[in-house]
């Protein structure tokens, strides 16, 4: 698996940036000719994670890369913030658990909507969530 060299990012500071992140992922998956359901799943997962970065992470950024191996193409998104981190990952991944005013579906839902999901966080050192969806 090798990245094709395309990489870029969207700043995540405001609610409007969450919209921009969604639009960037929509365009990316459209350009790669993902099916409509796959596009929608990745856009929705991106929206959840971008909002988390803005609200819980105090802002951050989304980076993306296009992946390809012999038989398939994929998109990997990274959501990176320097916020307080997640003290209890297991709890944070539980459906319905929320530290804020949401429904608590952000992390667990984004995981279900992705093919691959990685969470790297430490209290006080920020959070990095990476998701991949293959076409």
């Amino acid at each position: 698996m090798a990245a094709t060299g395309q990489a870029s990012e969207v700043e995540l500071q405001t609610e409007q940036d969450v919209v921009r992140a969604r639009q960037a992922v929509r365009k990316l998956t459209q350009d790669l000719k993902f099916g409509l359901v796959d596009q929608t799943k990745l856009v929705t997962a991106a929206s959840e994670l971008a909002r988390n970065a803005v609200i819980h992470g105090g802002g951050g950024r989304m980076e993306w890369e296009v992946l390809s191996d012999k038989s398939r193409v994929g998109v990997r998104l990274h959501f990176i913030d320097q916020g307080p981190g997640i003290p209890d990952i297991q709890l944070a991944m539980t459906d319905g658990w929320t530290s804020g005013t949401g429904l608590g579906l952000g992390l667990s839902g984004a995981k279900r909507l992705s093919n691959e999901f990685e969470l790297d966080t430490q209290p006080g050192r920020g959070t990095r969530v990476s998701i991949t969806r293959w076409k």
Binding site: E15, V19, Q23, V37, Q39, T44, G102, L105, G109
Partner: protein, 130 residues
């Protein structure tokens, strides 16, 4: 401030979301709609989301809230026009919108609202209380 328009058609309110909503816009809609239901005495709300190409948990919650608050204000909400890809994603995300009435399109949604209001009126003898 940016607002989503709410149109009055007889005893119903019509909301068509045609922009990619940021969170504050969704919150504003919830507030605006509850005050419009109150000031107009509307019996039903048709919420057309056919223009939305994604609904995440925040928007899903807004839809559920609108449905719940209209019920408390004696109005029925029908959500119409959800795109299939949006529906598939929303369910996989974990939101099944319990208690939210839906119809495939605006025409069927209007029929549903009309019959909901008619059956309520016959149930309470044609007199609306409150």
């Amino acid at each position: 401030m940016e607002r989503i328009p709410i149109l009055r058609i007889g005893e119903f309110l019509l909301v068509t979301i045609q922009v990619d909503m940021h969170d504050q816009l969704a919150m504003n809609l919830q507030d605006d709609l509850s005050s419009r239901i109150q000031t107009t005495g509307a019996r039903g709300v048709l919420l057309d989301i056919s223009g939305l190409d994604m609904v995440d948990s925040f928007m899903g919650r807004m839809i559920a809230n609108i449905s719940a608050l209209s019920r408390v204000l004696d109005a029925t909400t029908v959500v119409v026009g959800m795109q299939p890809a949006v529906a598939i994603t929303l369910v996989e995300l974990g939101m099944t919108l319990p208690g939210v009435r839906t119809a495939l399109n605006a025409e069927l949604g209007m029929q549903m609202l009309s019959s909901a209001v008619a059956s309520e009126e016959s149930a309470d003898g044609g007199h609306r209380t409150g």
